[in-house]
Symmetry: D4
């Protein structure tokens, strides 16, 4: 196996510097490279390391080195050490407009949870049936940050932002087909949300959405 320094330079002190640990983006790395990084962080259980966008092969490589790591297959996420930190700050709520948005919603949820927030999830509350989202108004208004994952028309963040005072993190997903253009339609809709208070992240970027929500709801 090649030397770690020939393909990566870890930033294990980011947690001390920025307050949040670095994550390992697995896509585009070989399983061998990911395993090498896993071996490097094995000696630093004081820092939580997230492995994101991990394919089954990546996950297997990590788990061979760090067998106790937490692994969520749908979300493509691993966390080590696997213990969830005790929650601080305010509650983070994650909404998934439809069942197909769940993998991205879960990636956001788990990220916020491992960064130290109290998290919860509500599924299948798309705007085609407004009574669904309106039925959760109380929970919505309690959250300090709300992640809203939606594909297709990306309309849910506008609706939610109009109902609450906390910031909404809009997470466009690639759910849909044809003129959804792999999430572009949802992305554009969210950038043009007619309600202010909508913070947009990249398509399918559950990690980024969860990270941002954790920062917004952080203890101050």
């Amino acid at each position: 196996m090649p030397d770690l320094s020939s393909y990566a330079e870890l930033d294990l002190d980011r947690s001390a510097r920025r307050g949040y640990p670095e994550a390992v983006y697995c896509a585009g790395k070989t399983p061998e490279q990911v395993a090498g990084i896993a071996a490097a962080v094995a000696g630093r259980p004081d820092v939580i390391t997230l492995f994101t966008r991990a394919s089954p092969a990546h996950a297997a490589a990590v788990l061979e080195v760090l067998p106790t790591a937490f692994h969520d297959d749908d979300a493509g996420l691993l966390a080590w050490p696997p213990e969830v930190p005790a929650p601080t700050g305010g509650p983070v709520l994650v909404l998934a407009a439809g069942t197909s948005d769940l993998p991205y919603a879960r990636e956001a949820l788990l990220t916020a949870r491992y960064l130290g927030r109290d998290t919860s999830l509500i599924v299948d509350v798309g705007v085609a049936g407004l009574h669904r989202v309106l039925g959760h108004l109380e929970v919505l208004r309690r959250a300090h940050a709300i992640v809203v994952a939606a594909g297709m028309d990306g309309a849910l963040p506008s609706v939610v932002a109009g109902l609450v005072s906390a910031p909404v993190v809009a997470l466009p997903t690639s759910v849909g087909y044809g003129a959804a253009f792999e999430g572009l339609a949802a992305l554009l809709a969210m950038l043009n949300a007619c309600a202010p208070g909508v913070a947009v992240v990249n398509i399918d970027n559950g990690y980024g959405a969860g990270h941002l929500a954790a920062q917004i709801a952080a203890p101050r």
Copy 2:
């Protein structure tokens, strides 16, 4: 003035053939050409002629030839003869998400009205304040066709279609800026509406929206 046949071939029998008269699309025509067409239809008061996308110069040219024609400046629309036909078929409702969508909403309204439908208009019912649209539920459910004009995130048609059983004609507008991309964001959102029953027309195409609504709500 050049001969009419050198630049246009009118289809005055379309009304008999298709059930709806031809409209004169003014954009890209010279005022002289539009005046020539106005002169040609002057002899056919049995057919309602609509002049769409008429600039002030186009309108002046039409009004010089047909001084009694109806003219709506905001909508860029003229109708001759100016008498509104007695309504037949079911009611057509037009919604404008915001004040800035009004010109296109009015073009739709007037088109449906001159094609023979009973029409009404509701303004400023964007999804950022759901109570606005929910307050009109009864009227919404009475309509046989609903035109929904919206720019920016284009979310309103999804919401409305989820509340009614009649078809919704989604009219994306160029209202917005930046990543609204002149109505593209709204157009894509509407094409990906998560509620079925949404019929999309071209950006800012109030004429097309009103025509389609009039056909849907036509007497059978």
Copy 3:
């Protein structure tokens, strides 16, 4: 199997509320999730449930739970209960410009049929041979709504809309290659149809086209 409420919230009363039942969009769901939904609707034979965009794995999962369900492999559609309701309202006609547009045309046809309309299909009537479509003029003019599925240049809806008084539901398909850009060329052409009366839906969205046509031709 996880609890249904952890990934979906069914809207079985939509039929009563909106007049049309909810459909289950299978793409992006796991076969297990789809099976869970099938189990939930098994107790509600009073509501027709459509499963759309079903891969073979999705279909197998549904059929294991609902063995009598109707299944059309090409269209990726299942319906349960399998009995076609007695037709009401006006006739819905579906045109497929070419053989390759058939899967989407059939999805539209079956949707309209299960929503209660009388439906028929005409295939391979592209504008490259006008005599084909002109040979069906009488049937075209009898329909209360016409779905036109076309890829490539997307020219057929313009031509058909110019021949009839009923609304045309334009269904762009991803048929074609190169500058067809997965259906974008057909979509743009249809949005710019030079004949009014064209209602555009998303690329390959046979379900949406059939639903809209069923609404337009609904009994009033």
Copy 4:
């Protein structure tokens, strides 16, 4: 006035070399530069020079130097010397789908005429009224090359190519609005024409369309 060689290098022998003279593209040149080129070609009446995309200021500059030059204001075209050459080769037919396409159709017509072809023009034969184009079938089938100028849905070239054996030069125009995207919709439709035999040129490029048609119908 600066020396001609500091801003242009004319190719007056192209006619001998390629069989067709060079044209002067005025857009982006200053009127002074265009005047300088006009002065240079003044001494070569044996070669026909076309000035294309000439604004009124460009035209005035040319006409001051070459007062007898032919000028078509709508088409933005000048020709010098103004005499039309005696036609050779086969007939070139130009169709304009709508009145608004006329400026581009005329640019094509005049180009083909000054390059030595027999030319004729038919206006306002869009596909929304098929009887219009079908009424010209005989003339269509006599042409050796047919230029079809159309904006919006760009459907006419497909229809025409399906009716004749000669090549069709498809000239997309920027006529339309919204999702016409300045001619992109028509361009894509024409590139995807479902009838073979369609040669596409740039949006609004009447000069190129006329030049190509003249080459196709050239004497051999």
Copy 5:
């Protein structure tokens, strides 16, 4: 002047409901319509009303009705009543990458200020000279929310987010030309920021950026 209800439906209770007042988006409204809205809010000095994207004509119309309103010409923003509320919550910092980004940065700054935050501004700290931004590290780390306005390559938010623990609101601007595509390049860069913690808003949407920052830094 037409009745207010014919073109707008104000939401003056939004402040009570959502915690933040509604803003009046002037673009696309006539000055008369804006004046009508100004007259309506004149009776509610308990709610701060912002008028955004106000052209000089819009501003004049507002100032005629509300002569004491605050007006920032560059930012196209008016506020009434003009008194800045006493700051609560944490500090909001606004960075402008270049001088040309100032109008949008000021719109963000003023919005956050009128929504009740303590605000400050740093100008001309683009990444081409890293020493500029690094020289402000202490101020950066004190802010509870940082708005970063940047056009062209949109690189500054990535750099800033890597230096601090507070959320960064990335405000892409249309500054630049050619392949900047009116802010698209900056928008895409920000959506793909390699540092997490970046909340993206629409191109040139200073109001949205300031609103979001005010929410993030709100007292809890």
Copy 6:
């Protein structure tokens, strides 16, 4: 096997009507459908039928029904009956800018050949080594139509059109990567060729290019 009329309506008289036979576009059809069409044309050896965009499965299905059919695997083309007609009209020359453009160039070549033209091919004459194309000047100038297949920068048609008087059929290919955008770069370059006389067809559309070249070089 379903009845032919349920999925296709052949146009075997197109050859008599338009002068060129219909081709069968295989992509998107099932092998069974293609076989059904092959069976239908088996009884009409008087008309040459081309099967285009045929995958190996399509080809096998055709060859089972028409075992003597000509088949070119690279070009995805079959012809039946396999006999090449005696050439008429002028020569058609096909250029492939690079080796990777060969499949599309061959599709064009074979189409023109089966439509009755004398054809020849020159390979690997990209503009990066101008001496290559300049070395073929004599052959280039003899052709009545020249197909130029090129991907990447799509520069070759401009260069060739500047050297000859015959029309150039520009065939953009999807050869390249990154900002070639599957042939878009080449397509746009060809549409903007600075030399007139360039007829553009769809990306990778060798059939269309060959058909158009055959029409241009047809006997008159």
Copy 7:
């Protein structure tokens, strides 16, 4: 006039640090802001300051403060102090494909000249007449860096790069119309140049092209 520090932070030591002075990008700045910067650099005649993308109003503002500054109106460029430095390094050659590309070519030329290179310019050598560029082969091969400005098909850099061993700086311009998409076609073509050795800069970015060429040809 507001204080300079409220809108800009000059980097007058960049020349010492990077070897090249900072330029002042005028677009998006007010003339007052540009004048303020001019006043600030007036005290530093040891550093050459370039003002780029200067409108006539910007230029007037600079010239009022720095009356001896060099000003090229077409290129929108000012330089102060106006003395051209004595050339060092290798020769830089600038090619303009057509006359309309001249403003951008001149901006590149003047930038390289004021950064200390020996520069020369050749105009109107587009690929439609290859003999033009081939006639300059000797000069081309002497240059240490060649800037090639071209719009439309952007084919010239490929051709030039295939003829020389020095790097070619490809400067796409917005010259053209329709599918030139404001320089996008040329940009894509240049990024896909089939000859290696092509360094692409932004559309119309003459300053960037000249700067890069000056760096490449710098003395070492």
Copy 8:
């Protein structure tokens, strides 16, 4: 195996003519074709031949003919003869923003090395942790040309160009997802770099980046 001249025309004298040898672009060629070319160059060990974008099948085909060829699997590159030439000119430095950019960075590195430059590589120096790149300032300033490979936000070239006086070759990569649009975001960011001195090449074009860097740093 077909004759070489039927699919390729090698340019083995390019090295003498341009100073750099031709490379064989394998994508789109069959392994048989690549093998045929390998056989042809086998007789010319005086010229270094690079095979780029070689899949494993291409590589196997080359190695069967030229068993001693150098092969880098990640970079998809082969070189024959395998001996690295003695370095001349100035040093070329290659930066990879992240581990996932390594394959493209290595392709650049190896190309520059086989074209005769002294090369070195630094990995994982993205702008999210500025201390990484700032820690290499001395090496950065020693290089005569710097290749910077980056995906996602493509911000690194701007930062690096602001720190050095040598040209930066910006190599956008397809690393990222969603709105990275396969490298488009990075490409646009690099074209709009706010620091001058950035030479952009095609997405993932490591060969082109290395070639350009080798030319810039060539001995003079």
